[in-house]
Symmetry: C2
Subunit: 259 residues, 2 copies
């Protein structure tokens, strides 16, 4: 019998936003795999889980992924990102380079070996696993190794919903349409702002100045709210996005525009 792999969304940061199901499974499995390297050196997903339950005696597999794109952004700072840079950055998001590829391969082999020994595992991910989670880079490759692999995805509270809740905003009512965009794509932003009722811009730290310019041009600046690190201890909410300073911009940030 191979083990079962649970892919668990641990919510946006507040340990209380873990689900009962996540807690039950995390208590039960002897082995937890956690992606590391996105930001801040240590795994945010693991720190959330550690604050909610005792992990003594469990094997913790930290999967290190060199996130070159993030380093690149830190070096160039958000203001200096030009169109071409932004495009390169967003392309490197989808392109798994060889070093990254080797790291993923190692993780896949580690996870697969545990499952083959009959060990149940959890792969934890910030927010919800279906929203911009690294897990799906592994998913297909695991199934290639064994199409019968038992993988269950446990949804979590997403950072998008949390950001809206913390800002007391409804993302949608009745027949309203929502667009969720990685802010690196500012090319079609105007068109999307015209056609949708609510627009959520992810990872907006990369292109904040450009976004602000477009919102100003469209008289939508007053319709925008910026939520940084929703659900975390150092969460910040700006109802006037003109007040945002460079230090307020970070990876875990969204702009919500409601028309």
């Amino acid at each position: 019998m191979t083990g079962k792999l649970y892919v668990i969304g641990v919510g946006p940061g507040d340990p209380e936003l873990l689900t009962l199901k996540a807690v039950r499974i995390l208590k039960d499995v002897p082995c937890i795999c956690v992606p590391k390297g996105r930001e801040e050196g240590s795994s945010l997903a693991l720190s959330i889980v550690k604050r909610a339950l005792n992990l003594d005696g469990k094997e913790i597999i930290e999967a290190h992924f060199p996130m070159r794109k993030t380093k690149g952004i830190k070096a160039s700072k958000h203001q200096s990102i030009k169109d071409s840079d932004a495009l390169t950055l967003c392309r490197s998001d989808t392109f798994i380079d060889s070093e990254l590829d080797t790291k993923w391969q190692e993780t896949i082999e580690t996870v697969y070996s545990r499952l083959n020994k009959g060990i149940n595992m959890a792969f934890i991910t910030i927010g919800d696993p279906t929203i911009y989670s690294t897990f799906f880079y592994l998913y297909d490759r695991l199934l290639e190794l064994n199409p019968e692999l038992n993988i269950e995805i446990i949804p979590g509270v997403s950072s998008i919903n949390t950001a809206a809740a913390r800002a007391n905003l409804s993302l949608s009512l009745a027949d309203e349409k929502i667009a969720i965009l990685p802010a690196t794509y500012t090319d079609n932003l105007k068109e999307t702002l015209e056609k949708f009722d609510t627009i959520v811009l992810m990872k907006v730290h990369r292109v904040f100045d450009k976004v602000l310019t477009i919102l100003n041009e469209m008289n939508l600046t007053n319709n925008a709210v910026y939520v940084s690190r929703a659900g975390m201890d150092d969460e910040k909410i700006f109802k006037n996005i003109r007040d945002i300073k460079e230090a307020d911009l970070n990876y875990f940030s969204v702009v919500i525009i409601k028309k």
Copy 2:
């Protein structure tokens, strides 16, 4: 001291998808307000909470909202909804008619009177409160009565994320763009299907045949997955949406199209 109002997302249906925070607050508050009338006669949100914890001794306020639009749909059935009907239906979604208005007013007064007595309350809602939740119809009016009212929105696991998780689908990776549409708006569906990577169609039971026609025309039928009642006991997933029968269509259904 006025009481505090917690607006709580109780997740999509599985009681284990309640968050720790939701459970703690629901145990703590002496009074729970629950919207009733959306579907099936009784409140789904309340039944989820009842399966997770004992509500003995708490006051349960059931807020009855006549959902005329739903009755209208039931009478006409999804196949017979023409363009004009669909438009009328979706307009009636945003238009609160006078009977509905009176019912909301009664609920607001009930909630407000409890808060004024210093009673902490929870208003529970399926999924996540920021996604198509009735609560926001009350929100502004409550603040009109008292702008200092203490209202906290507790995010929950949304049915959209749950549907994707149950179908083992990523809604977005890297620089992918997501559109979430109430399916009543089929007018711009083609354009949205062209421009977005992932398209989530809500309440698709109303216009399923029309959606299927458009997907067929665009060769996207094989990219669509239908999830009915994600996270509930009678959940159904169709990887081939051509297999869907009329009986499989219902209010709690989404189509996810991944390109």
